[in-house]
């Protein structure tokens, strides 16, 4: 599988690489940080939203992840990509949040809290339909066990390939494939139970 959108530019690309941007951002270059945020902010936020199921928590996780990137960036040695490192922070922060929340058993309803995720580029009717589909899909994803939810979110919300997902989760690529396979079967079953068909997507 090829790596998906938003990956670091090719070495010959005129676009600055993530590691160069990170180094500049750590030195205080606001434009470099803004570029990193623009390149990866949406995927970090999407992962946080679907891993926590809570809009307010997702904002905190996203905020914390980017600032942690700056604080810990001096330790970045390039043995992982910046994006997998950033997403690893995101996963850890989201997990911390869920653990804290489980202790308080105060989890919010995902179907409500992720309802703002329609794409503003579509027309009003399409936005509504898209929003309903997104809400349904998000609700199904929220019911998955954590290991399956992570691979789905990293693959489809963050757009990572198998290798990058394996690197982010610290598991073999084969485990990623088997989790993805099981997750797809389960999601497909749940969507079909709700009367959704391929034509609706």
């Amino acid at each position: 599988m090829s790596e998906a959108h938003g990956d670091p530019p090719h070495p010959n690309s005129p676009e600055p690489r993530d590691d160069a941007l990170l180094a500049a951002a750590i030195r205080g270059d606001a434009d470099a940080f803004r570029t990193l945020l623009g390149r990866h902010g949406a995927r970090v936020h999407a992962c946080a939203l679907h891993l926590t199921g809570d809009g307010a928590a997702a904002e905190e996780v996203t905020h914390d992840a980017f600032l942690a990137l700056l604080r810990g960036g001096r330790d970045f040695r390039g043995d992982a990509s910046v994006v997998t490192w950033l997403l690893r922070i995101t996963l850890n922060r989201a997990r911390d949040h869920l653990r804290a929340e489980r202790r308080r058993s105060a989890r919010l309803d995902t179907e409500v809290t992720v309802s703002h995720i329609a794409d503003g580029r579509a027309g009003p009717d399409e936005q509504l339909a898209q929003r309903e589909r997104n809400d349904c899909l998000a609700a199904v994803i929220a019911t998955l066990p954590e290991d399956m939810r992570q691979v789905i979110v990293l693959r489809f919300a963050a757009g990572l390939g198998y290798g990058a997902i394996a690197e982010t989760l610290g598991v073999p690529a084969g485990s990623v494939a088997s989790r993805l396979h099981r997750a797809l079967r389960r999601i497909g079953d749940r969507l079909a139970e709700r009367g959704l068909t391929r034509e609706m997507f």
């Binding site: 809009g55 904002e59 789905i152 999601i187």
Partner: protein, 216 residues
């Protein structure tokens, strides 16, 4: 699903499966209703996810992160600001939050416009009864920012933290001496009274009190 179908189902969905394998799978699916149904369910999930529209980064959140980075950068260039904040934190934790909050605000002198105030967010209960990831703070920061009254903010973790005593020993911070702080803001205001008004506009009083200190 037989192993050869199972093994290649993902590659089929990804569109990366070689023709020979693809034909073999399709032959099997044509003859096996159970496998065809299972594969169609996976395909339904795949196509739903492939057309998924992940959320964009909310504009207010993007601005908040950029402001935090900007504050950090300015802190690198002008360490005095953070040093003052740290000193204020230390003073409060050593002296007792309640006394400072009650006694100092009442006698606070008026301050010139543009003066910066440190707002220390205190929790009424510790550990807090609800997660510190709460709604309303980003919107409050955005409103402050629109009025050019926002300077910066950070959330603290839910740990109690540690205190280094004068002899250099590090010990867990106790609840009664300032462990129950959940974050800080720095705002611009003309006076303590205006800073208090900003606090009342914000979301934190639902969760605890706020200590205001003028930054020199």
């Amino acid at each position: 699903m037989p192993p050869h179908v199972n093994q290649h189902a993902l590659a089929w969905l990804e569109g990366t499966l070689e023709d020979a394998h693809r034909e073999r799978i399709e032959e099997h699916l044509a003859d096996c209703e159970d496998c065809r149904q299972e594969f169609e369910r996976m395909r339904l999930a795949w196509e739903a996810l492939a057309n998924w529209s992940p959320p964009r980064l909310p504009r207010a959140l993007e601005e908040r992160i950029l402001r935090a980075q900007n504050l950090r950068t300015r802190g690198m260039r002008r360490p005095a600001l953070l040093r003052i904040a740290a000193m204020a934190l230390l003073a409060i934790t050593c002296t007792g939050v309640g006394w400072w909050a009650g006694a100092r605000s009442a006698r606070a002198p008026s301050s010139p416009a543009g003066t910066q105030f440190l707002l220390l967010l205190e929790e009424a209960q510790w550990p807090p009864p609800a997660p510190l990831a709460r709604a309303g703070y980003g919107e409050w920061a955005r409103q402050l920012s629109e009025r050019n009254q926002y300077v910066g903010a950070e959330k603290l973790t839910e740990e109690s933290g540690f205190r280094v005593s004068q002899d250099g020993r590090m010990q867990p911070a106790a609840r009664a001496t300032g462990a129950a702080l959940s974050g800080w803001y720095i705002v611009r205001a003309a006076s303590y009274e205006e800073a208090a008004a900003l606090v009342r506009e914000g979301p934190h009083l639902r969760h605890g009190s706020v200590l205001i200190r003028q930054i020199e």
